[in-house]
């Protein structure tokens, strides 16, 4: 029996471990499939991490290192090179690594912190051939930043997610020519600051409402055909344009990796593709918590750490004397707001509710209703799907609620 097992040694897993330790848990084990701690941050060598947390601009590895040190200082146990194969509903974890072979651990509490993966090309059904030279942006990032190799010279990027934007800059800096970034939607899914610093600063065109309709080349990509799309996102024949390139990078979305979660029988939110959780980030199964990108995709690691601390502290309390509940309210959204995390409140305490909007809205008002009564409103100059928002609800505001509804109105 291990008191707390944390699955995933990225920023979420490490922050949760540190927080649980500081709240009194000593028997902690982090399981990480990679050969070192740090998760995806290891390959994010650009800066911009930690502004909120540390008031500094750190690179990904630097940010990860701060947490890794805290793990070391506390003597928290971890196993790297260890892949978790299964989590059972009664909290038995099956994992494998070269030294221990396949082994099982009964945990008292579990924090799920497995992160997310990129959506692959297959899911897009792009017509044409399937030559070498098509990569997800994160894979290209790994080749360039971790291995020191260039996956291509002349690049088109489909999708303007943050990794795609970051890679547009990185490939350019490493000597490649990025011909265009095509985005299906009329707005970018990435952070405004990344569009500025990664595209505009390098004169890389961002083609909104554009998609790749065909891939050409037999052995290696020789070009792509792109087209503008109409309001139904259907390509407009007359706008087809051929771009010569040897590489197509895809940055078309991130998906929380919840195969283990689903295997344990935990319900997922259809919008976030992460578990349904309460204010403590506890899932449907008592003592199983989720945080970080496995719960919902964050744009900034600072908020991952914050969320992981909530989960880690709650896990500690669960282990010590159980979590108490005094209410059961469901959080709803109106469609313009796509989702909230948490999706449930089981205890009236101060809670930051995170949410994302479905479209770009200017000059909008967010209204929170408690059982039909207006609890609070907040005006926002600009809201975009690429930028996560949050609102703080206090213990007093939450107390006794049955249903809390987040809505948005354009003024």
């Amino acid at each position: 029996m291990t008191e707390l097992v944390i699955i995933g040694g990225g920023p979420a897993g490490m922050s949760a471990a540190v927080a649980a330790y500081d709240a009194g848990v000593r028997d902690i084990l982090i399981l990480e499939r990679d050969d070192s701690l740090g998760g995806i941050l290891q390959q994010c060598i650009h800066n911009g991490f930690g502004l909120h947390r540390f008031g500094e601009e750190l690179t990904g590895p630097e940010y990860a290192w701060r947490y890794e040190q805290q793990v070391h200082e506390r003597g928290i146990a971890y196993k790297t090179g260890t892949m978790v194969l299964e989590v059972s509903p009664d909290k038995v974890i099956t994992a494998t690594n070269p030294t221990d072979g396949i082994f099982q651990i009964q945990a008292k509490a579990i924090v799920l912190a497995m992160g997310c993966r990129e959506r692959a090309k297959g899911a897009l059904n792009i017509a044409g051939t399937r030559p070498a030279g098509i990569f997800s942006a994160g894979t290209a990032q790994k080749f360039v930043n971790m291995k020191g190799y260039m996956p291509g010279k002349n690049v088109v990027i489909l999708g303007s997610g943050d990794i795609g934007l970051i890679m547009a800059r990185r490939m350019t800096l490493e000597g490649a020519s990025v011909k265009a970034v095509c985005e299906l939607m009329p707005y970018s899914g990435g952070l405004a600051r990344n569009i500025e610093q990664c595209l505009n600063d390098f004169n890389i065109p961002l083609k909104l409402s554009h998609t790749v309709v065909e891939i050409h080349g037999k052995t290696r990509v020789t070009g792509v055909t792109i087209a503008k799309v109409d309001e139904n996102r259907k390509p407009i024949e007359s706008t087809k344009e051929y771009i010569e390139c040897d590489t197509l990078l895809l940055s078309v979305g991130l998906i929380p990796e919840n195969e283990l979660t689903e295997g344990a029988g935990i319900c997922l939110d259809r919008v976030t593709s992460g578990a349904l959780v309460d204010q403590d980030r506890q899932t449907q199964i008592d003592g199983v918590f989720a945080c970080g990108n496995v719960l919902h995709v964050h744009d900034l690691v600072d908020f991952v750490s914050e969320e992981a601390e909530i989960a880690g502290q709650a896990a500690a309390q669960y282990i010590a004397d159980g979590l108490d509940t005094d209410m059961d309210a469901v959080l709803h959204t109106d469609g313009k707001i796509r989702y909230t995390v948490p999706q449930r409140i089981t205890k009236a305490k101060d809670t930051n509710v995170y949410f994302r909007v479905a479209d770009v809205y200017k000059n909008a008002k967010i209204t929170v209703l408690k059982d039909g009564e207006v609890l609070l409103t907040k005006k926002k100059m600009r809201l975009a799907p690429g930028e996560m928002e949050s609102l703080k609800l206090t213990a007093a505001q939450l107390a006794g609620a049955k249903e809390i509804k987040f809505g948005l109105e354009v003024l």
Binding site: P98, G122, T129, P131, A132, G138, E174
Partner: protein
């Protein structure tokens, strides 16, 4: 000097090689690509057809029924997956029913066992996810599924383990008759053999012309597919065909032996034998028809799409003949996969008639250890294996749960995987939801290390399909 050279390492050439490897003959399997199973054998419906489709008396009918009877044992010996899941040909109306009656009669004449027509009530129990508009179906209990490239890789591996050679990246460009056989050229390179089997698929006509036989042509007809996540395969047990019509056989939906769900193929005549591009129209057709066959098709869980080219012969049947020590296996389109084991045996008989002496090898071993033995082992067995070889404790492909040990085995065993696609076809690594996003950089590293190549020399599928174009800042 070889006794037999086989041109083409698709499933047909592979089955010929494996059958011949039983005997004391020197065999060389010649392939233009960097791996085996890259032609029609890479991308098809993967169905072991029961045999009610082909006209009575045709070569297709004969080899289909024989091949389908042989397939289970061949798969067992080669340690590859085989699933006797059964096939249904669904009918929506009276006209379809009449066609199904004809297929039933034809199947009976071809010697297919257990065929009958089932009605709606029975079908609802048999296959609850069939569309509500289905009226009746021809049930073919002997229908089965395999993994065509797994079968081919295993057959070539088994032939090699029994002494056969594999010559890759050898694109036959000319053939010369010699005094006691043939000299086969790929540019400057040459291989000599007393007998030749032409199993070059789409290019079997081109190879035939090299020895002056221009009696047939082969043209490509493309078939596009959409493959869905492993979570979806259990929606169906049987392979679901539509009733064939003047418009062709239409779109089928089938589980695969690996648990995915497959929908396709389209059917479009082409000019270019190299064009395996998928099309937007193709996707539309697949989605439309599949949704007519089956309720709630999970196309949102698509993981990839691909296209294969049928080698359509100009005679309408398989073209199988032997003359002057040269065996032609031309126009082997569907049901070529099913027929391959039987064609392999027949080609060997033809060679014997042509004068090849067949003496059985004393040490012939028909068994090949399953490529998926680790995956299927119990936890205790796995731990025994990991104790001996730690690399089996390390998962490289997380989506499909493939270990480093399995990948290294694929890189080291006959026929060795030389590129990323080769590893994929042998181990399923990179074949899951993320399509190699996480693991391909590491697999590139393993390939480079094992084959003593530079990192940037590693390809996706041979030739100039390089994964990386050079070092950073140097391109």
């Amino acid at each position: 000097m070889y006794d037999v050279a086989i041109i083409g390492a698709g499933v047909v050439g592979a089955m010929c090689a494996r059958t011949l490897a039983k005997y004391d003959v020197r065999v060389c399997l010649i392939e233009k690509e960097n791996d085996v199973a890259t032609g029609a054998t890479r991308a098809n419906s993967a169905i072991v057809h029961a045999g009610f489709d082909a006209k009575e008396g045709s070569l297709k009918a004969k080899f289909n029924v024989r091949g389908s009877e042989m397939m289970e044992q061949v798969c067992r010996e080669l340690g590859v997956k085989y699933k006797n899941n059964g096939s249904l040909v669904i009918g929506f109306n009276a006209e379809d029913r009449q066609t199904l009656e004809e297929l039933l009669a034809r199947g009976n004449a071809n010697g297919v066992k257990g065929l009958y027509i089932a009605e709606k009530e029975e079908l609802e129990k048999l296959e609850p996810n069939l569309s509500d508009t289905v009226e009746c179906a021809l049930v073919a209990p002997t229908g089965a599924i395999v993994c065509p490239y797994e079968l081919t890789i295993a057959a070539v591996g088994n032939a090699m383990d029994n002494g056969a050679d594999l010559e890759r990246n050898f694109e036959v460009s000319a053939i010369e008759k010699t005094e006691n056989g043939y000299r086969i050229f790929a540019g400057e390179k040459a291989i000599e053999a007393r007998f030749v089997i032409n199993a070059a698929g789409l290019y079997s006509d081109k190879i035939a012309k090299m020895i002056g036989d221009d009696s047939f042509d082969v043209h490509p007809r493309k078939g596009e597919y959409i493959l869905m996540d492993k979570a979806c395969g259990s929606m169906l047990k049987n392979t679901i065909f539509r009733t064939p019509s003047k418009m062709g056989k239409g779109i089928l939906v089938s589980p695969t032996v690996d648990g995915n769900l497959l929908a396709g193929p389209t059917s479009v005549d082409m000019e270019d034998k190299e064009n395996t591009a998928t099309s937007a129209e193709g996707f539309d057709k697949i989605i439309k028809e599949a949704c007519e066959n089956v309720k709630e098709m999970p196309f949102r869980r698509t993981i990839t799409s691909f296209c294969g080219l049928r080698a359509v012969g100009s005679t309408g049947d398989f073209i199988i003949k032997a003359e002057n020590g040269f065996v032609t296996l031309g126009g082997i389109e569907s049901p070529g996969l099913t027929s391959a084991p039987a064609i392999g045996v027949y080609a060997t008989e033809l060679l014997a008639e042509q004068g090849l002496e067949l003496k059985e090898k004393a040490d012939y071993n028909p068994i090949r250890e399953a490529m998926h033995h680790f995956r299927e082992a119990s936890m205790e067995e796995k731990n025994e294996i990991i104790k001996k070889d730690k690399s089996y404790g390390k998962i490289v492909c997380r989506c499909e749960g493939v270990t480093e040990g399995e990948i290294l085995a694929a890189i080291r065993q006959n026929p060795k995987a030389l590129d990323l696609d080769g590893v994929k076809r042998r181990t399923r690594a990179q074949m899951g939801r993320c399509q190699g996003g996480f693991c391909s950089p590491y697999i590139v590293e393993l390939l480079a290390r094992e084959h003593g190549m530079a990192y940037e020399q590693v390809t996706k599928s041979g030739r100039d399909s390089y994964i990386n174009v050079g070092k950073t800042k140097e391109v």
